[in-house]
């Protein structure tokens, strides 16, 4: 390498050729966002109802906590390659790994959100004649909303990173640039791809952080 690879990466990013067509940056970024949204959405369909139920009833809490903890030990690259080999090329293999990896954060966010409500407040709601469903939907969930959004934040961070590894097993997304660069020893392209993924990850994280702050119920801000 002769020149400064960071400057060359900047040139790569500034080149209009890389901003159009099916393998251009906007398209790859959209793919990446699409994978992330789909993965978090499917995982939320599974994990949020279970988490809310666990938090509200306290049943199965030990299992949920243990599952969320043990899942942290699972290597993402291992799951991506394992599912790719088992299910073949296509979107189902990476999607399955996104869902598996997003579930623990969402589950933990949902049950800790419900649990965070002050028991005295919940009892007061019950004494007012609220049904269990009303207590959950009108008291516990609104009070715990920042924690629930926190679960989505953790899951999104996880899936954005995993979606990049999906490019390794033949899918699209911004990870493509890193692996193309790796294959052709094109370090500037790898840097450019890395910068794009980092920007995407940080923007998503900031949006969710802001949502987390905005959804905190007024007068009941918890640390």
């Amino acid at each position: 390498m002769n020149g400064n690879p960071y400057l060359e990466a900047f040139d790569w990013l500034a080149d209009p050729v890389h901003w159009s067509g099916p393998s251009g940056i906007p398209m790859r970024a959209l793919e990446h966002l699409g994978y992330t949204a789909l993965g978090v959405f499917v995982a939320a369909l599974i994990a949020v109802p279970i988490g809310l139920l666990v938090g509200h009833t306290g049943v199965g809490k030990g299992v949920a906590v243990a599952a969320a903890g043990a899942a942290r030990a699972l290597p993402t690259l291992g799951l991506v390659t394992l599912f790719a080999l088992m299910l073949g090329i296509g979107l189902s293999a990476p999607l399955l790994s996104f869902v598996v990896l997003a579930i623990p954060s969402l589950l933990a966010g949902a049950y800790s959100a419900v649990e965070s409500a002050d028991p005295a407040t919940v009892d007061a709601a019950r004494a007012q004649g609220m049904t269990e469903w009303q207590i959950l939907s009108r008291v516990e969930v609104p009070l715990g909303m920042p924690l629930l959004v926190g679960g989505f934040r953790g899951a999104t961070v996880q899936v954005v990173a995993t979606a990049m590894l999906a490019a390794y097993v033949g899918n699209g997304g911004l990870g493509r640039y890193i692996f193309l660069g790796l294959g052709s020893q094109d370090y500037p392209q790898m840097i450019a791809g890395s910068v794009l993924v980092i920007v995407l990850a940080l923007v998503l994280d900031l949006v969710l952080l802001l949502t987390q702050r905005l959804t905190a119920p007024r007068g009941a801000r918890t640390a």
Partner: protein, 216 residues
């Protein structure tokens, strides 16, 4: 299974380099987090900004960080040192907020009593504050250890030797047993380390036996 039995030496080698990349960041993050957390706790605004920036640093996916660092550090993309430095940053991003919470969980009254009893600042820190913050620190180190051991594998796609190589090689050659062995071994390595940390915690903090600590 036959693949595993035929390649025990390869697996052992990868496990060794895996641990060599994972353990120093865990240790380093723990040691560095103590002064950094004390410093962060000394000012409200500093604590807030440390917590926020740690959260953002943790949002950066590991592979891009592995790619960006070599040019700055003068290491190569395939250097294990590069992986360890990136993992140290992640470990710090998790550990500093945890240590900050840990020190905040120690009652000011207790610290005041210790001073009144004649503890000098250093002795007070080592004999009163650190042990009382211990359970929360332990909870933090456990999270750091498990996530670091799991993250090392990502270096496999860059060709850095670790159990992650079993995923890369297994995928390339279509050997399901090789990938499965890698997933199981990584998880086992993480969970065994976690178990050892729990035992270490019990030995160092006998008063916490039978209690679990949750970080708010």
């Amino acid at each position: 299974m036959s693949w595993v039995l035929a390649n025990l030496d390869v697996i052992a080698g990868y496990t060794g380099s895996h641990l060599l990349q994972a353990l120093p960041p865990i240790l380093l993050a723990f040691v560095l987090s103590l002064p950094l957390a004390k410093l962060a706790n000394s000012r409200g605004w500093l604590r807030t900004s440390v917590t926020t920036s740690s959260g953002l640093l943790y949002a950066i996916p590991s592979l891009p960080l592995f790619v960006l660092l070599p040019g700055l550090l003068g290491t190569g993309v395939r250097s294990p040192l590069n992986i360890s430095i990136a993992l140290s940053l992640y470990a710090l991003a998790l550990m500093v907020p945890a240590a900050s919470d840990g020190f905040r969980s120690v009652s000011r009254d207790v610290l005041g009593s210790a001073t009144a009893q004649g503890y000098a600042p250093t002795a007070r820190f080592l004999k009163v504050e650190l042990p009382l913050a211990g359970p929360v620190l332990l909870a933090g180190v456990r999270v750091v250890a498990v996530s670091t051991i799991s993250l090392v594998t990502v270096g496999g796609v860059l060709g850095v030797p670790s159990l992650g190589m079993l995923f890369v090689d297994g995928f390339r050659r279509g050997i399901l047993a090789e990938i499965t062995a890698g997933v199981v071994l990584t998880a086992v390595l993480a969970l065994v380390t976690d178990g050892l940390l729990v035992l270490l915690g019990r030995a160092l903090m006998p008063w916490t036996r039978g209690r679990t600590v949750k970080r708010s």
